[in-house]
Amino acid sequence: MQLTFNKKRPAPAATLAGLARGEHGILEAFDLPEDLARRLMELGLLPGVEVRAARGAPGGDPRVYHVDGASIALRRETADRVRLRRP
C-alpha cells in the first residue's frame, strides 16, 4: 500500500495496483512499453473506462480487474504502472 509519509514529495500517482478490493477507478494512462499497453487496450483496459479491483491469487498477486463485464488478470508489477485519473 502506498501511503504518503513525506508531505514535501508530490503524492504518488494513483495506480491500478493501489485500488483495494471492490474499489474502482477511471483509467488514465500507461507507463508501459507500447506493445504491452496495446495488449491491455485490446483486452478492454482503455483510458477513460472504469476498472474495478476484484480478488486475485493468494497473496493478492496477480489480481483480477473487472472491466466492461470482462475479467482481466494482471501482475502487480504491471498494475503498478497503469495510472488512474485523480478523483
Binding site: 485490446e42 493468494p58 497473496g59 496477480p62 488478470a73 508489477e77
Partner: protein, 626 residues
C-alpha cells in the same frame, strides 16, 4: 432439416465444381471459434502446422444439404489484424492470400462474443475491410439473453454492411444461418463505407457508435463473479485447487481399474480364442503372442488415458483452468515461469505433444522455450502403463487416508510430484542460465464459467482415442512384430531358441553391464531399447518376452516381473521412466516447434543423463533401505 425456401439466391449460380469452397473462421480468443468449428466439422478435421511457423493449422470439412462439401479453416485467435505476433501474422497472410500453398478463402465467418461486443466489435472494421464475403456470427446468444442483454442483428447488419446472426455454438442454436452462409446463400445488406482505424481507442469509439442503437450490453456475469469469490478466496481457493488435483488423480487410478480389467479380459480372451481357431503355425504364434499380446497390453490403458483427458477437458471447458493458472502464477514465477505455463504443463500430464503445441499462448519466447523443454518431465499418460504395472506388481494396496487415498495411488501421486519437482528445478536452472530474461508480463483474460457440453467432451475423447489407437496400430504394432521376430531367431533345430540365445536376448545381454548398476537385467534392457520409440512399448515388450515362457504367461505380467526385478530395481525403473525422454513423437514436435535439432537434442541429452543418474541413486538408496 431446415427449410431453405426463404433463400432464393441458393441455386441459380452454383459454383463451378473445380474446387471446394473454403471458408475461414476468425475471431478473438475465447469467442468460441473452435466450438463452432468442431460443431460444424465433427470428426472430419485434421491438425497441422503452417509452413515455417509454429502456428497450428486446423482444417475440417462440413457437409451441407445436397451433399455439398465446404472446407473450413480454424484460424488462430486474434484481437487485431496488426501483424505483431506470429498468430496475427499467420491470420493476416491467410486472409490476404499470401500464405504459400494456401489459396485465399472464399468467405469468412467472423465470430464475436455477444456478451462482450463492445470490446470484440473493434475487430470487425479491419476484417470487413478485407473485402471478402463475411458473416458476423455473434456467439453465446443464450448467455446474452440470460444476462438481460439485447441485440438487433438487422440494425447492426445495416451499420456493418454485412450479414449478422446470433448463434450459440455450444448448443447448436442459430447454425441454420451459418450453414446457409457456407453454401453461399445469405442475403448481403448494402455495403457501407467503413473507416480505416489504426489505434485501439479509435476502433473502440467506432465500435461503440456502430453498436449504439443495436446492442444493449448484458449485466456483468454475476455467477462467474460469485464463483470467483469462492475459487479465488485466499483460503478456500488454494484448498479447492489441491482437492481438485487429488480428486483427479485418485479417480484416474481407482476409478479406471474396473474398466481396465474389462478391456484386459477382452484382450486375453479374444487372443486365446484366436489361438484355438487358427492352425498351430509360427504365423499364428506371431499373431497371438506378438501382435495380440504386444498391442493388447498397451490398449488396456485406453480407459485410464481417456479418463485423464476427460478431466482436463472438464477443467478447461468450464473455465476453471484459467483460475488455476492465476493461483499458481506466483509459485511458477519463483521458478522463472509464469501462470500461462501451467496450462501446457497440466496438459503434459496427458501428453507432451499437445502440451508443446499449447505453449503457443505464452508470448514470451524464453518462457515458452523453457516450458517446452520441461514439459516431457511431467508425467504423461504413456508412463501410466509402466507405473501401473510396476506399482501393482510390487506394492500391495492398503488404505492410507481412509477411503480417500490408497498406497498405490499415493505411490503414483509421488511419482507425479517427482516429475513436477524435476520440471520446476530444471526450469529454474534454464531460466537463470541460457534462457535468462528480464521480468515478463502476465496478462490473462478469465473466461466466464460455463458448463462443459457432452458433445465437446465427447469429441475430445474420440479424438484422443483415435490418436492413441493409431499409435498402438502403427508404432507399437511395428515394434511388437520386429521384437517378436528378433526374439524368435535364430532357430535351433528348427525350433526357436530360448529367448536368452535369440537376437533380442543377445542385444539385451550386450547392454546389461551398462544397466546392471541400476538393478536391471537383460530383459528390462530390451524393454528400455524398444521404449525409445514410445514409453508404453516396454509393457508390450515384456508381454512378448514373457509370452514366450509358458510358465510366465499363465502367471501374468505382474508376477513374471516380480521374478526379474528386485524391489530396489523396481524403484530404479520407476525413477528412470520418470525422467527419461523416450518418445519419438515429442522429439519430432519439439524439432518442428523450435525449428531445428538443437533444442530436441539438448532435451534428449539432459533427460537421459537425469534418468540414468536418478535411477542409479534410487537403486543404491533402495538397497540400503529395503
Amino acid at each position: 432439416m431446415e427449410n431453405c425456401s426463404s433463400c432464393p439466391a441458393a441455386t441459380p449460380t452454383a459454383p463451378p465444381k473445380a474446387r471446394r469452397r473454403r471458408v475461414a473462421i476468425i475471431g478473438p480468443p475465447n469467442s468460441g471459434k473452435s466450438t463452432l468449428f468442431n460443431r460444424l466439422t465433427g470428426l472430419r478435421q485434421k491438425v497441422a502446422n503452417y509452413p515455417g511457423v509454429t502456428v497450428e493449422q486446423r482444417v475440417g470439412q462440413t457437409r451441407l444439404r445436397g451433399r455439398q462439401a465446404v472446407d473450413l479453416l480454424d484460424l488462430p485467435g486474434i484481437y487485431s489484424l496488426e501483424p505483431r505476433s506470429e498468430d496475427e501474422q499467420v491470420t493476416r497472410d491467410v486472409l490476404t492470400g499470401q500464405m504459400p500453398g494456401m489459396p485465399k478463402p472464399d468467405a469468412l465467418i467472423l465470430i464475436l462474443d455477444a456478451t462482450s461486443l463492445t470490446r470484440h466489435l473493434a475487430l470487425a472494421a479491419p476484417v470487413l475491410h478485407l473485402g471478402l464475403p463475411t458473416l458476423v456470427a455473434l456467439n453465446m446468444a443464450d448467455e446474452l439473453r440470460r444476462r438481460g442483454g439485447e441485440m438487433d442483428t438487422a440494425a447492426l447488419a445495416g451499420e456493418l454492411g454485412a450479414p449478422v446472426t446470433l448463434i450459440s455454438a455450444a448448443h447448436g442454436e442459430g447454425l441454420e444461418t451459418v450453414r446457409e452462409f457456407l453454401s453461399g446463400a445469405v442475403a448481403v445488406p448494402a455495403p457501407v463505407e467503413l473507416p480505416v482505424l489504426q489505434d485501439v481507442p479509435k476502433c473502440r469509439a467506432w465500435a461503440a457508435r456502430v453498436s449504439n442503437g443495436a446492442y444493449h450490453a448484458p449485466a456483468p456475469p454475476e455467477w462467474s463473479r460469485r464463483l470467483d469469490e469462492i475459487f479465488l478466496h485466499p483460503l478456500a481457493g488454494p484448498l479447492i485447487f489441491a482437492l481438485v488435483v487429488v480428486a483427479v488423480f485418485q479417480s484416474i487410478f481407482s476409478g479406471a481399474v474396473p474398466l481396465m480389467n474389462g478391456v484386459e479380459a477382452l484382450v486375453s480372451r479374444s487372443g486365446a480364442w484366436l489361438g484355438t481357431r487358427l492352425p498351430d503355425t509360427a504365423w499364428t504364434a506371431l499373431l497371438v503372442e506378438g501382435v495380440w499380446g504386444g498391442v493388447g497390453s498397451v490398449v488396456v490403458f485406453l480407459p485410464q488415458i481417456l479418463l485423464l483427458f476427460l478431466f482436463i477437458g472438464i477443467l478447461e471447458d468450464s473455465g476453471y483452468l484459467a483460475r488455476a493458472a492465476l493461483i499458481v502464477d506466483r509459485t511458477m514465477a519463483r521458478f522463472g515461469l509464469q501462470g500461462k505455463s501451467f496450462i501446457p504443463l497440466l496438459s503434459a500430464y496427458a501428453c507432451a505433444v499437445p502440451a508443446i503445441l499449447a505453449t503457443r499462448t505464452i508470448e514470451d519466447k524464453r518462457d515458452r522455450m523453457a516450458t517446452i523443454l520441461i514439459a516431457p518431465l511431467m508425467t504423461c499418460s504413456a508412463r501410466l502403463p509402466v507405473y501401473t504395472l510396476v506399482i501393482a506388481a510390487f506394492l500391495p494396496e492398503r488404505p492410507l487416508l481412509g477411503p480417500f487415498l490408497g498406497t498405490r495411488a499415493a505411490a503414483m501421486l509421488g511419482l507425479y510430484v517427482l516429475g513436477f519437482l524435476a520440471a520446476l528445478a530444471t526450469a529454474r536452472i534454464l531460466k537463470s542460465s541460457i534462457l535468462r530474461s528480464r521480468g515478463t508480463s502476465f496478462l490473462m483474460e478469465l473466461p466466464s464459467y460455463r458448463w462443459p457440453t457432452l458433445r465437446s467432451l465427447g469429441l475430445r475423447l474420440l479424438d484422443r482415442a483415435r490418436v492413441f489407437l493409431r499409435r498402438a496400430g502403427t508404432v507399437i504394432l511395428a515394434v511388437a512384430i520386429v521384437l517378436w521376430i528378433l526374439a524368435h531367431v535364430p532357430l535351433e533345430n528348427g525350433r526357436p531358441a530360448p529367448i536368452e540365445r535369440s537376437v533380442a536376448g543377445t542385444i539385451g545381454r550386450t547392454v546389461e553391464p551398462l544397466i546392471a548398476p541400476l538393478g536391471f537385467n537383460w530383459k528390462i534392457g530390451i524393454g528400455l531399447i524398444t521404449s525409445l520409440a514410445a514409453r508404453e512399448v516396454i509393457v508390450g515388450t515384456l508381454g512378448t518376452i514373457y509370452g514366450m515362457e509358458a510358465e510366465a504367461q499363465s502367471a501374468g505380467l505382474q508376477s513374471a516381473l516380480r521374478k526379474d526385478l528386485t524391489p530396489a530395481g523396481a524403484v530404479a525403473l520407476l525413477i528412470f521412466f520418470a525422467f527419461a525422454m523416450q518418445c519419438l513423437s515429442t522429439l519430432a514436435v519439439v524439432r518442428r516447434e523450435t525449428g531445428g535439432w538443437k533444442w530436441p537434442l539438448l532435451q534428449f541429452g539432459y533427460m537421459t543423463a537425469l534418468a540414468y543418474l536418478g535411477a542409479l541413486v534410487a537403486h543404491r538408496v533402495a538397497l540400503v533401505w529395503m
